[in-house]
């Protein structure tokens, strides 16, 4: 027995099953990210004066990723419009760019994550704090080498720089170190909420890219058999992709700029 309204819209709602399904799913996604944004607000507003970091992330990389996601949203909708006009090759071209954009976004995100995992805060016996990026090639059993700076007050670390990189190399004898920790999710509440929000978002990008790729590649033969069903699939995956873009539009200013 064929499932009704799998392709053709139901007359009273004007929706086919998958379209109603994706909107119900997106409604639940709004609440998921809403809860995390709520957590962010509470953590930030309740943080003691001078303990919430600013400009710890590279604004220019974040802006580039925002551009990449916006371009991918445009190509998704252009691909769908191409199918509506019966232009399959144009659709393949536009959706190919979308997949490329997803890979670029994830590539930039992984560069940013690596940067945080290589960034260390080192507490020394003389009371100073060394802060910078680990240089594994130059670090030895007795000497830790960072590209960064020394500070005496922890609050100085809260204000990052708009121009990342290019800091001098500093050498720290390992027997002078009391403790050291990288800027992973465990570092403080800011990095915890940063990794949670962007990690969850990145999982959505990965999931969306896999679905878009599957429809674009292995499942492309459906276009020959049932073009309307295929176009519906592209529309539904596109709606999810736009939602992913929508979430990033709020994540970027909240985490990178404010």
């Amino acid at each position: 027995m064929e499932i009704p309204y799998a392709v053709k819209p139901r007359p009273d709602t004007g929706l086919y099953n998958a379209k109603l399904g994706i909107w119900l799913f997106l409604a639940s996604e709004v609440m998921l990210f809403g809860a995390l944004f709520s957590s962010y607000i509470l953590l930030r507003v309740n943080a003691e004066e001078g303990t919430w970091p600013h400009h710890w992330l590279n604004i220019w990389l974040g802006m580039t990723n925002t551009f990449v996601l916006i371009i991918s949203s445009v190509t998704v909708v252009l691909g769908w419009a191409s199918l509506k006009m019966g232009q399959f090759k144009r659709y393949k071209f536009f959706q190919g760019i979308t997949i490329l954009c997803a890979l670029v976004f994830l590539g930039i995100k992984s560069v940013e994550y690596r940067d945080k995992f290589m960034h260390y805060e080192v507490h020394l016996k003389d009371g100073r704090i060394a802060d910078g990026h680990l240089q594994p090639a130059e670090t030895t059993d007795k000497m830790l080498v960072l590209e960064g700076r020394f500070v005496t007050n922890h609050a100085e670390l809260m204000e990052g720089s708009l121009h990342h990189g290019g800091e001098p190399k500093i050498e720290i004898p390992k027997d002078e170190i009391i403790s050291m920790e990288n800027y992973g999710p465990w570092h403080n509440t800011y990095t915890a909420i940063y990794f949670t929000l962007t990690g969850l978002h990145a999982l959505h990008v990965i999931g969306g890219a896999i679905v878009i790729f599957a429809i674009w590649g292995p499942l492309a033969k459906v276009w020959e058999q049932d073009p309307e069903r295929y176009t519906n699939r592209v529309e539904v995956s596109g709606l999810f992709w736009h939602f992913v873009d929508l979430v990033w539009i709020f994540l970027f200013p909240v985490l990178y700029l404010l």
């Binding site: 053709k8 819209p9 709602t13 004007g14 929706l15 109603l20 909107w23 119900l24 409604a27 709004v30 609440m31 809403g34 809860a35 709520s38 607000i41 509470l42 953590l43 507003v45 309740n46 943080a47 003691e48 303990t51 604004i59 802006m63 925002t66 551009f67 916006i70 371009i71 949203s73 445009v74 998704v76 909708v77 252009l78 419009a81 199918l83 509506k84 006009m85 019966g86 708009l162 403080n188 509440t189 276009w223 073009p227 309307e228 295929y230 176009t231 596109g238 709606l239 736009h242 939602f243 873009d245 929508l246 539009i249 709020f250 970027f252 200013p253 909240v254 700029l257 404010l258």
Partner: protein, 117 residues
């Protein structure tokens, strides 16, 4: 509801009318895309200006982000011309989302504030 959504406009069987409608939509998508890119530049620029109060920067950034969000949801996701059923689903989401944010703000004003280092 736009022509692009009409069930009669079957993919692969596009008539002249639907092709013309699609072309119009493509122009809209491109304009919205450029507006979103400009909005991103505006957000970065506004965040680097000292308005004398960080609250102004936050309000401005959220206003621009909301405008961009409206463009994505309204035009790319076609929410400005969607079916009533979708609006019904989203009205529940809006209610619960607003309630969540209200509870967040309420707890900030009345709850025991825990300072987190």
């Amino acid at each position: 509801m736009s022509d692009m959504h009409s069930p009669s406009v079957a993919a692969g069987a596009a008539d002249e009318h639907s092709i013309e409608a699609a072309r119009k939509h493509i122009r809209t998508y491109l304009i919205v895309g450029v507006a979103l890119l400009c909005g991103t530049l505006l957000t970065v620029w506004a965040s680097l200006i000292d308005f004398g109060s960080r609250e102004i920067n936050i309000a401005l950034a959220l206003f621009i982000a909301s405008t961009k969000g409206f463009l994505v949801a309204g035009f790319f996701m076609h929410l400005i011309s969607e079916r009533k059923m979708i609006y019904a689903v989203l009205s529940f989401t809006t209610f619960f989302f607003v309630a969540l944010m209200y509870l967040t703000l309420f707890s900030m004003a009345h709850g025991n504030i825990v300072h987190i280092r």
